[in-house]
């Protein structure tokens, strides 16, 4: 049980409660049917229009996010271009900023 100045957290109590709640949920779960009668194609993934031609390719994930943040990502990807000279320029920028901050403030 730890307590920072402003809050507290006890993992053991949490786990005891989770254990108890799991028992309750398991009871609810066992009220339901466990399996299913195996029929032809019943357990195929639903894809309206017949057989699934392309199996899952989970590559273009989070399209919505990248589309919404398009300008930010365009800018970021241009900055991370992998050229060592640019890395050094960033370092020079860092040194300048740090010296400026430390000396002026």
């Amino acid at each position: 049980m730890i307590s920072t100045g402003m809050g507290s957290w006890s993992p053991l109590v949490f786990l005891i409660c989770v254990a108890f709640i799991s028992v309750v949920v398991q009871i609810i779960r066992s009220l339901g049917e466990g399996g299913f009668r195996k029929e032809e194609d019943k357990a195929e993934a639903f894809f309206s229009g017949g057989r699934l031609l392309i199996k899952n390719r989970v590559m273009d994930v989070y399209w919505g996010f990248f589309d919404a943040m398009g300008r930010y990502y365009g800018w970021m990807k241009r900055m991370h271009n992998g050229i060592v000279n640019d890395y050094v320029y960033w370092f020079v920028l860092l040194v300048t900023v740090v010296i400026g901050v430390v000396i002026l403030l």
Binding site: M6, F14, M59, G82, W90, V98, I99, I103
Partner: protein, 509 residues
């Protein structure tokens, strides 16, 4: 002999590194046993150091003196002095433990991916050199030794980056060598400025002098040294080399590279807490701003990546950002309670970061071992072939994002509840960063592990690799369930050691 543990902890891996090449001539089994035994011995020394510190408090060890704790026989320090306090003992212990685990993991891994013989000899020597460098950086008490061991770390890790002798590895190693050359140069420049002013190289002695006459030149030296160390850490805006390096380095070494960044954080905090503590408010705010930027840039650039190890590398940049957030708040609020709490959160996060991201890199290595690929578009459905690997990944993913009841949650809880006193926006950035981190790893999990079953060749993952990964997972779970033990036993001595700059100075003078 145990009284010379501080020196032996650094010297023994150094000796073992060169000896392992000779012993490798006799046969690979003997060399493996030799390396394992020397790592175990170093680990025992590190444990002993920790126990000593818990008993005695901070103490110094002078190399080659009659009485080892007498650092300043004539009023000023002579010889190489190692200072062991709570924080340096913790970092040394972490470095050795991670190297030991990584070596057990790497035995079968390196066999498969590089073929035994000569290259394995090279691997063992380089890893031991890397360890010696990290330990030296962690335990040293003066600036020049710091520089020497930093160079040792850079050279050995640069060779390890180029280990798989392919074009892309050479490119990454080349970039890394340029970066580390600049790093070392600026560090040396800053150290030289300080030396020219005070004529001293010992950190505590310089701190003592600076209390009285802190001048403009010291400020410039501070900026140069801090910039150089920030470059080594990989904080924004100089984080880009880290991604290239972590991608090309063998996975077992990637775990050690994470630890070396954390040693870099230790060096930063040592310099800012114990030497330049008069500028703590300013440097604290600077570190906090750079840390928040690191979190944001790290997680947002991790999302679009298509290579597994590059993603984890960006995630490690974000995690370093979290530690910087904690340490910066500790600096900026050095006299208030929230500063101490934030500092303990940051130090605890160092431990958690090594465990969580270490586990991630080990899993990435295991996937590479089994399938031979790291691009996430070519992988998929691994969960059907290896359920235990997916369970490990879930544990690591939840721990890195800070989901209760794992260890990441504890350190993030402590940090949020103290950093918000400095500025509430920082806590918001932290929470946002952790949810974005979760989305990064969910993307990885869904792409690599879920989906239709994997159709390619899937070699069985050897027991040594699985065992090491499960040990990491177990430690994650244990630290999550009993955070109080870690906080009282490991983190509080470290925090006290960092904040007690008076004691640090008193040990040397």
């Amino acid at each position: 002999m145990m009284e010379h543990a501080p020196a032996l902890v650094i010297a023994f891996p150094l000796f073992a590194a060169f000896a392992s090449h000779l012993i490798g001539r006799l046969g690979s089994r003997i060399r493996d046993i030799w390396v394992f035994a020397s790592l175990l011995l170093t680990w025992l020394f590190a444990v002993f150091l920790n126990l000593e510190v818990m008993q005695r408090g901070t103490y110094a060890y002078t190399l080659g003196a009659d009485i080892s704790s007498l650092a300043s026989p004539a009023g000023f320090p002579v010889r190489i002095v190692l200072v062991i306090d709570g924080m340096s003992a913790l970092i040394a212990f972490m470095a050795v433990s991670v190297t030991l685990a990584s070596f057990i993991y790497s035995r079968r891994f390196m066999e498969r991916v590089s073929g035994g013989g000569e290259s394995a000899d090279r691997y063992c020597s380089l890893v031991l050199l890397f360890l010696a460098g990290m330990l030296g950086m962690g335990l040293t008490g003066d600036f020049f030794t710091l520089f020497v061991f930093l160079e040792m770390t850079s050279i050995s890790s640069a060779s390890l980056v180029a280990f798989f002798r392919k074009g892309s590895s050479f490119e990454a190693a080349f970039k890394y060598m340029i970066i580390s050359a600049i790093n070392a140069l600026f560090l040396l420049f800053g150290i030289g400025m300080i030396y020219s002013q005070y004529g001293l190289l010992n950190m505590a002695a310089i701190a003592n002098e600076m209390v009285l006459n802190f001048s403009f030149l010291d400020k410039v030296a501070l900026s140069l040294i801090v910039s150089a160390i920030l470059l080594k850490l990989g904080s924004v805006p100089v984080h880009m080399w880290k991604v290239d390096v972590y991608q090309k380095v063998p996975s077992s070494v990637a775990v050690m590279c994470i630890t070396s960044s954390l040693v870099g954080i230790y060096v930063l905090s040592r310099i800012l807490f114990s030497v330049f503590f008069s500028m703590s408010a300013l440097t604290g705010w600077m570190i906090v701003c750079l840390g928040s930027l690191s979190i944001i840039v790290g997680v947002s650039m991790a999302l679009p990546q298509k290579d597994l190890k590059r993603m984890i590398a960006y995630a490690s940049i974000a995690e370093i950002g979290y530690v910087m957030l904690g340490i910066g708040t500790g600096l900026a609020g050095m006299s208030s309670t929230f500063g101490t709490v934030a500092l303990s959160g940051g130090v605890f996060h160092i431990i958690n970061d090594a465990l969580d991201l270490g586990l991630m890199f080990l899993i990435a290595g295991a996937v590479f071992y089994a399938t031979g690929k790291t691009g996430i578009s070519k992988l998929g459905g691994i969960a059907h072939r290896s359920a235990s690997l997916s369970v490990l990944f879930i544990i690591g993913m939840l721990a890195v994002s800070g989901i209760p009841p794992f260890n990441g949650f504890v350190s993030k809880l402590i940090m949020y509840e103290s950093v918000f006193c400095l500025n509430p926006v920082l806590s918001v950035i932290g929470i946002l960063g952790s949810i974005l981190m979760l989305s990064v790893f969910v993307k990885v999990f869904a792409s690599v592990f879920l989906g239709s079953p994997y159709k390619g060749k899937f070699r069985e993952i050897p027991l040594s690799m699985t065992a090491v990964m499960w040990i990491f997972a177990l430690l994650i779970i244990l630290l999550g369930l009993f955070p109080g033990l870690a906080l009282d036993g490991l983190v509080s001595p470290a925090v006290e050691a960092l904040l007690g700059h008076g004691i640090y100075m008193g040990v040397i003078i």
